[in-house]
């Protein structure tokens, strides 16, 4: 963590992400209810003002409240999906890298094939025929389609570690395979894995926004950034703020986690050289 703070780009990312998190968390305490439609006749598409810092949308709802509430939805989905994808990726990578041989060959062929289909299309194949996509299903499918790259990364790290003395020493001492995998290998892939986790959050936020824009992600009336951009399309000339706000929110969120992720990659790279 202190290494992250010493990295200028990493520090920028941490500050930015912290501010966004605080806004999303504190919003319900000070802002109006995102679902409230106070004045549907006179209060629609109001320009930003002191009463509504980012104005109101076509249903007279407060844009800033919806933005904060959409952010909580986005980040919850990202957290759940990334937790799943990183766990799967780490497990498959550890098994493939340590078992080697036929297990490794089969797993990696499958991963190659899965990586040949862009993630958006994988998701379309799964949720494309559904009439409504429940939130839980959305989280699980996004998570289940995101582990392929991670498993390759972990496998490569494991292959490198397996040639090192401390692993070979543990093997020579007769340590059971489970102990080697979880006590010796896993902690040593933690650095690259942390970087991958952070970068994955950014990918999921973008992906979820895209799916919601296509109507396949978060279902209205639950606010989501992608859905807000879609809803705001007809009013972009008369009320540009409702379009601009969610786009900037996505951009800043993904930018901040990518800044952190790249900084973690640099740190893991340096530590890897020392080890």
């Amino acid at each position: 963590m202190s290494a992250l703070w010493r990295d200028p780009a990493g520090r920028l990312g941490v500050i930015l992400f912290g501010v966004l998190l605080a806004l999303a968390a504190l919003a319900p305490l000070v802002l109006p209810d995102p679902r409230a439609q106070p004045d549907i006749t006179h209060g629609t598409l109001l320009a930003p003002s002191l009463a509504h810092l980012l104005g109101t949308d076509h249903d007279s709802r407060d844009v800033l409240s919806r933005l904060a509430s959409g952010g909580r939805v986005s980040l919850s989905i990202a957290t759940g999906a990334v937790a799943l994808s990183i766990t799967l990726g780490a497990l498959v990578g550890l098994v493939a890298g340590y078992a080697g041989g036929r297990t490794d060959a089969i797993l990696m062929r499958l991963v190659d094939a899965a990586l040949a289909i862009p993630r958006l299309f994988l998701l379309l194949l799964i949720v494309g025929v559904m009439q409504r996509v429940p939130l839980g299903v959305l989280i699980v499918t996004i998570g289940a389609t995101g582990w392929f790259g991670t498993s390759r990364l972990v496998r490569a790290e494991v292959l490198r570690l397996c040639t090192m003395d401390f692993v070979r020493g543990a093997e020579a001492l007769g340590a059971p395979r489970r102990r080697i995998v979880f006590r010796h290998l896993l902690p040593n892939v933690a650095g690259p894995l942390a970087a991958a986790t952070t970068l994955a959050v950014g990918d999921v936020v973008l992906l979820e926004a895209g799916l919601s824009f296509l109507g396949l992600g978060v279902q209205p009336p639950t606010p989501s950034w992608g859905g807000m951009i879609f809803d705001a399309k007809p009013y972009i000339v008369t009320a540009p703020w409702i379009s601009i706000a969610p786009g900037v929110a996505i951009l800043l969120t993904v930018l901040s986690v990518n800044l952190i992720g790249e900084a973690l990659e640099r740190i893991a790279g340096r530590e890897g050289l020392v080890a």
């Binding site: 094939a113 289909i117 958006l120 194949l125 799964i126 025929v129 379009s243 993904v254 930018l255």
Partner: protein, 324 residues
């Protein structure tokens, strides 16, 4: 060498077959009736539904369907569209492919010019203020939702300033115009979607180029070239950049999915009549054979792109053959 090439081609073929299998079972084993869209707004008799199921072949057991599907794919037959009244998916794809290749090619060119330029510029002055600002700019490019940027650019440059057209590939009144006039018109329509697509993807190129170039600039060969007193631009582009080309080729596998995913949104925003719009329409209509067909085409392109990158990398750097 030839044995390696043969093995690599075989491997690509196997990857493609597994991807096709994966796509088929993902689509068919997840809940949801593929014909729901056809039957939802009109009450059909059980007999009519049964005949529809027979027409699209989904009355058969899943394994039979799969064998039929796979043999179709290998013969270049991707089945019939549901939303387009049973038109062959391959015919739909063939109609839309040229527009997508034009848009994707232009976007890739812009992406490359921007990404390589910025990456090389950064690598020559690492740690400087310009380097740090451009790092944030590249990451911001990667973080921008394509559909949002498309809407913003269309509003500013088309709706407000009237510099460029908002949508489509050609003005309908130019159907009979001379070729050059029509080409100029297409170019004007191409500019905004291509720019959108390039702006949301160049960040990845720039990040890779910066890293590859930084490594190349540290090579002894580059130091020797400098010591010989060669002009800076010769050292930079002839000596260092050529050495940075190999790692850049690995990006092939990254560009294609990025471009294809981006073009689904960008084409839909600008009503560009390509595969992306076809896919977006198919999503709206729950037209599963079309979604499937486009997915399979895309995965074939990704596998082929990776294969070409590997072959090219090997050809550029014969040392790789000695190791493998």
């Amino acid at each position: 060498m030839t044995a390696w090439i043969r093995r690599r081609i075989l491997q690509a073929l196997v990857t493609f077959l597994i991807a096709t299998t994966l796509a088929f079972f993902l689509m068919r084993l997840t809940p949801g009736d593929p014909l729901a869209r056809l039957t939802e707004d009109k009450p059909l008799s059980p007999a009519a539904i049964a005949s529809l199921r027979e027409r699209f072949g989904i009355d058969q057991p899943i394994t039979t369907q799969f064998v039929r599907f796979l043999s179709g794919v290998l013969r270049g037959d991707l089945g019939a569209s549901i939303a387009y009244n049973g038109r062959p998916v391959t015919a739909l794809i063939r109609e839309r492919l040229p527009a997508t290749l034009l848009l994707g090619g232009t976007a890739l060119l812009l992406n490359f010019l921007l990404g390589v330029g910025i990456g090389v510029f950064q690598a020559t002055r690492p740690g400087s203020k310009a380097d740090r600002v451009l790092t944030v700019v590249s990451l911001a490019s990667y973080a921008t939702p394509s559909f949002w940027l498309g809407i913003v650019l269309a509003t500013v440059f088309a709706t407000e300033l009237h510099w460029l057209p908002v949508a489509f590939m050609n003005e309908p009144y130019l159907v009979d115009a001379p070729f050059l006039e029509r080409a100029g018109d297409t170019l004007r329509h191409l500019l905004l979607p291509a720019l959108t697509l390039a702006l949301v993807t160049f960040g990845a190129t720039a990040r890779y180029q910066r890293a590859a170039m930084a490594e190349a600039l540290a090579l002894p060969a580059v130091r020797t070239a400098r010591a010989k007193g060669l002009p800076d631009w010769v050292v930079l582009w002839r000596h260092a950049w050529r050495n940075a080309l190999g790692p850049m080729l690995a990006l092939f596998g990254l560009w294609l999915p990025l471009l294809v995913t981006g073009s689904v949104f960008v084409e839909a925003i600008f009503a560009w009549p390509g595969l992306g719009t076809l896919a977006a329409e198919a999503i709206g209509a729950r037209d599963y054979p079309v979604i499937m067909g486009v997915t399979i085409l895309v995965s074939a392109a990704v596998v082929l792109g990776n294969l070409l990158a590997d072959l090219l990398h090997r050809w550029l750097d014969p040392r790789l053959g000695a190791v493998a």
